[in-house]
Symmetry: C2
Subunit: 505 residues, 2 copies
């Protein structure tokens, strides 16, 4: 709705005279246009914390649109943390904090200025005296490393000339063949041509997002979800929709509501030992996801980060294994979370019809991945000498996981919920009501123990009482001492607050 | 300007009733809005080849905007190849061909379905019997490779544990220190903290573009320019503005016009032995670029792909070396075009204030680059054993370049223009009027010789008579035979056409 300039000039002062201009028939639903323009006004400083948005009825009338449309825009704005309904009625701009403010900072300055999580994690894991429950990847197995060294030497002896030449973006044929064989043993039929080698799973996720999701398009993720996918989606200017996780996978009803309302391009899911919650989606939910994806013509990005690390229960087929060949399921993996941490090799199994556009995005991102590492990894897979050390390592981590669950259950404050996943190298904790993980975090680091605060796993409406405790790269003694420190800090945190409550209530 | 639905329904039939809806005060200039919406109509099939756009005056009146605004939008549309002015007056939609149609295909389907250039190049360079003038990187030097093998072995012997762990996105301190030392010797003062290690120069370019350029924002490149940057910009949904290259660098007058009109975010330049033309920008033009960048507050992305490969003339300082420390100059390099083809290691020297946002983009793209390759390359630089073989290789390529220029000048059809760059591994050729490089290309491949058709180096308005002939990875005998084949095909191409002209004129 166009306004006169005179009126536009007034908009900064009067939220009630909000300047919203709608364009019909451009493919962007009206409620999204309202949503985006309110965010623009907040980013531009025209709307500041505490200002009241026009009442739904008034704005709808002024714009000549349905009240439901405005109500839905306001609801989305509240979900994203930009505004809040108040008890006395009315919708008000929130003080910039949490996810809304992060998104706002992103709008004003595409990438926020705070230290990067990956830098913080690295610093923590190398800080003297700090026991860091941050590594969601296995410790270096000496036998595996020696095996990989031997593979690099073999690759250099045989293929060094071909490794110092520019490659096509697909990845080395030998490695793709080995991956194809490896996947076949796990129930996934994928010809080598449908495999694209990437620089780790993070790049595979980024490529799928960049290929499929134009700026502003909606994408569904689990809530909470791996921060790497949230970051990739933000960098691609996607609109993130979160679907809560239940004990057996995504809440299917909310998923379908989002699908029918927002028509997203992509559903990202991490169905086995989900990062961060450890939840494994049931086969029923996996099948339900496929049915919905077909119904709404949406692609699935399945991130299978470490399904080999199962300590209990029966393996569940991957979504890619359950899918029909022509289903739009992208299956993403890396070698870093199971065998070779830090090697930065991953891959994506792509539906044939999207192979070419994914390859183009790969080529435009970094041409191709280092050839020598690919040849060495192909040999590593072919020789299969990793199997014995891997089985031993898996057993050790299974024992460690049980020990960690037991000692945290005994030591953490009453009311702490501790996830009990069937595999993977992380536990997900919910602190009791009234605690804030940010406070725990800063006290913990001062006491020489660190973990990952849950906030990085939410795209909106952060749950301030969650944390991820990871036990990759850890010995038994260090683990016991780390648990002692963590539990002691957490119990300290509870006590004064309890005392305070006793006084004031 | 909003229309009724009834009128909107008619817009497909009547270009004169073009549905354009402008939004003021959203930061997007009106002429760009007109431009983008006309392109949308073409993409949607509402406007088809041969249809006339509304006269400038009529559309301006209808939209209530200045005639100059409409005229400017039409000019940009014509520059991008979407429309054309006709002699009898009026602006008409062009038949989809050339860059406009490529852009159109990109709009309809983000990435075109044709085989990727990198795949074609790889296939050509490995096709039996085909002499491929396609490698713009040096041949594998045996001594260099053995030296790099020794470095990998040394890195594995000392650092293998630290190489199998997740790293922060910056890159290894040892490698950044070596790069800093290397650059200092070339007049560039860059502390290791301002260096970010990337997976080749292509990723460095992609990261700078993603950090600085929001979707739809204008970016200036040289015309012609390296296809890698054109692809990265298209993937980022940037709006590409081309500035013609003169013999001593960019046409500064056109550059300033673009800067003042479009307020771009970024200028990409490849000032030394430019890919594809071989042109080296003079020091005056480099300084002029810096002055303009400061005046208009625009960042410079300087791609220095192979300035070490100078065969004649005096070195010219890089723009980064000429700049003040706080100038917004991103300096991008890789190790692939000079020492270690295919190793996929590059770096960007970033202004300190943009370091953090670039690092975040790197982390969100692929977390970090393979650590073992970084350690090996750090040793490779530290040991300096590459210097002697490099000098020998450079001398050999200098002789080869002169030979190639001489034999092409003698053998190609009269009227062929051949660039004579002072360094680098490519020559840029302009065929005589009346020839088409696409025809030459298909005949050439059938005769067992290949080159890179110039069309990939243009973002719009392809010059159909240009080609790049590269002589990296080539021996003297193969070069002579390749030139024979190429000249013979080119002369064949001229003859029948000459004969035909003689008959019909």
């Amino acid at each position: 709705m166009r306004r006169t300039n005179k009126r536009s000039r007034r908009r900064a002062a009067v939220a009630g005279g909000l300047d919203i201009q709608l364009r019909k028939g451009n493919g962007c639903p009206l409620f999204m246009q309202v949503h985006e323009q309110v965010v623009d006004h907040i980013a531009a400083g025209n709307l500041t914390a505490g200002m009241r948005l026009p009442p739904v009825r008034a704005l709808a009338q002024e714009l000549g649109i349905n009240q439901m449309t405005v109500a839905r825009a306001y609801k989305d704005l509240a979900d994203a943390g930009f505004v809040e309904g108040r008890a006395g009625g009315g919708t008000y701009v929130r003080a910039p904090s949490g996810a809304g403010s992060r998104r706002l900072r992103n709008l004003q300055n595409p990438v926020a200025e705070q230290p990067l999580l990956s830098e913080r994690l690295f610093d923590l894991s190398h800080a003297p005296g700090v026991i860091a429950f941050t590594a969601n990847f296995p410790a270096l197995d000496k036998l595996c490393i020696n095996e990989f060294k031997a593979c690099i030497e073999a690759a250099m002896a045989h293929d060094v000339a071909s490794c110092f030449h520019y490659d096509p973006p697909t990845g080395r044929p030998r490695l793709r063949q080995q991956i194809s064989d490896y996947l076949l043993a796990r129930g996934i039929i994928s010809p080598p041509d449908d495999i694209i080698v990437t620089s780790g799973a993070q790049q595979a996720i980024d490529l799928v997002v960049r290929s499929l999701v134009p700026p502003g398009a909606p994408v569904i993720i689990e809530r909470p979800a791996y921060y790497g996918v949230i970051n990739a989606l933000r960098t691609a200017h996607a609109r993130i929709l979160e679907v809560p996780l239940e004990q057996d996978g995504m809440d299917i009803a909310t998923l379908e509501t989002h699908l029918s309302r927002h028509r997203p391009r992509l559903i990202y899911t991490n169905p086995t030992f989900q990062n961060p919650t450890g939840i494994t989606a049931s086969e029923e939910k996996r099948r339900a996801l496929l049915v919905l994806a077909r119904k709404y013509g949406v692609a699935i990005l399945e991130d299978d980060h470490n399904s080999e690390l199962r300590f209990a229960g029966e393996p569940i087929p991957s979504i890619r294994a359950l899918a029909e060949p022509d289903d739009s399921v992208f299956y993403v993996r890396s070698f870093g979370k199971v065998f070779l941490p830090g090697v930065r090799l991953g891959y994506v199994v792509t539906p044939s019809r999207t192979r070419r556009s994914l390859l183009a995005t790969k080529a435009h991102s970094d041409l191709h991945t280092n050839a020598l590492m690919q040849e060495a990894t192909a040999l590593f897979l072919a020789r299969r000498n990793y199997q014995k050390p891997f089985e031993r390592m898996k057993k050790a981590y299974g024992v460690m996981q049980q020990k960690l669950i037991r000692s945290l259950s005994e030591g953490m404050p009453p009311g702490t919920l501790i996830g009990k996943p069937e595999g993977g190298l992380s536990l997900w904790l919910n602190l009791p009501e009234g605690t804030e993980v940010s406070e725990l975090y800063y006290r913990a680091v001062r006491r020489g123990v660190a973990f990952i605060s849950g906030e990085v796993f939410y795209a909106s409406h952060v749950n301030p009482r969650t944390l991820r405790v990871s036990f990759g790269s850890m010995t038994d003694e260090v683990l016991a001492e780390g648990v002692n420190r963590l539990c002691s800090v957490a119990n300290d945190l509870m006590r004064p607050r309890g005392a305070l409550n006793a006084i004031f209530t």
